[in-house]
Symmetry: C2
Subunit: 207 residues, 2 copies
DNA sequence: AAAAAAATCCCCTGAAAGGGTGAGCGATCC
DNA sequence: GGATCGCTCACCCTTTCAGGGGATTTTTTT
């Protein structure tokens, strides 16, 4: 069997170099390209046809989540492992929803990375142990509500301190509509006031 | 002149490997040790007597900030460069106050790292361009209001979704007092509603 | 001991948020 | 072609918030 071809996508040179150093030590795979952003990643993808893409979730302009979605649409066979720092676990579910096959925290050891790659290539899903371990956080992750475009928009305006009438004026919609959206947001986050709404949204990385 | 001896401290193997790869390419310095945490760092320090320590700010147990403070107390001659992901700029000021000589974001390029090391070794201070550049964020950093103990306490309760009467009951104080504290919080953050208050506090890392 | 800062308390008013319910309309999915 | 979902709008009612005063008592700093 040929070596597994991998592309690593991250905007931090340090992470790219770190991954390069670690992947070199694993003999059944080959790092065929790296990219600093989603555009470059998509370009390299066309050239190289890799088996696996390991991508940071926080990329400038186009996020790793969107990159994953686009990539999976065009090349469903390519496996994707998402990567993120420990602070951003909240994005994991979105990543999975976009079609990712695995998730690694950046604090992963060489062994963990190797294991993740092996499992994902076999068709299994791999989630960093750190992700599985913390039950409370896992629960919080699961309870992350799915917001509609409009709801996110309004959530941001609320966070910016606009009142319902101001939001209504800005979006050219009725005050009642804004009110409804706000209520739906509160319901989705299972809370009952804006302060904790913003706190939860902030913790979830939505803001 | 001898090569500059450096110790890198970070709990992410990927960053360690990335730094190792990048530092190897710079000929006037030598990576003499690495450490995953503050304890190991202090141990290696005693053994190696480096010229420079590059440390992550977010370390388990003992933070990079505290490590810096301890290190500077014992070995004032050793230079320290703090390192952090772009999200955590709010810690920079604390880092500088603890005696750090420089600050790098983890997204730094090889060139930037080289420049930072050179300047710091010469006795100058280096801050990542990202830190200097963004005036708005810099302002936000500076404008971080100083909160009293009580105000922080109440801020957290507001964020948890408690209403003023609930807070009053919980803290055994009058509703009016809570109201006053809340007003002071709004004034200090120069905003006029709880939602944006929580957003700002959240961004500042207070929550 | 005097001054400053923090914490406490009180009253007022209008605006805004929160809670409940129902309903029309367009796009998309099956 | 029916069902679901997202977005829109409406009405009613109660509670909370925001902002404006002013005031006293601890605690800390100088």
């Amino acid at each position: 069997m040929d070596k597994i071809k991998i592309i690593v996508v991250d905007d931090h040179p340090m992470v790219i170099e770190g991954m390069r150093a670690m992947l070199q030590q694993i003999d059944f795979l080959e790092l065929c390209a790296t990219a600093n952003n989603a555009y470059m990643a998509l370009e390299k993808l066309r050239e190289q046809q890799p088996d696996l893409v390991i991508t940071d979730i926080n990329l400038p302009e186009i996020s790793g989540i969107e990159l994953t979605a686009r990539l999976k649409k065009e090349y469903p066979a390519i496996k994707v492992i998402g990567m993120s720092t420990f602070n951003e676990r909240s994005y994991i579910s979105q990543m999975i929803q976009s079609g990712a096959d695995g998730f690694l925290v950046k604090s992963a050891s060489k062994e963990e990375i190797e294991k993740a790659i092996s499992l994902v290539i076999e068709g299994q899903m791999y989630l960093s142990v750190d992700v599985n371990m913390n039950n409370q956080e896992k629960k919080e992750l699961k309870n992350q509500p799915v917001l509609t475009r409009r709801e996110k928009e309004i959530l941001h305006l609320i966070a910016d301190g606009l009142t319902n009438p101001q939001i209504a004026e800005k979006l050219f919609i009725s005050l009642n509509t804004v009110d409804t959206h706000r209520k739906n947001l509160l319901a989705k986050f299972e809370t009952n006031n804006s302060a904790s709404l913003i706190k939860l949204a902030s913790k979830s990385g939505i803001i």
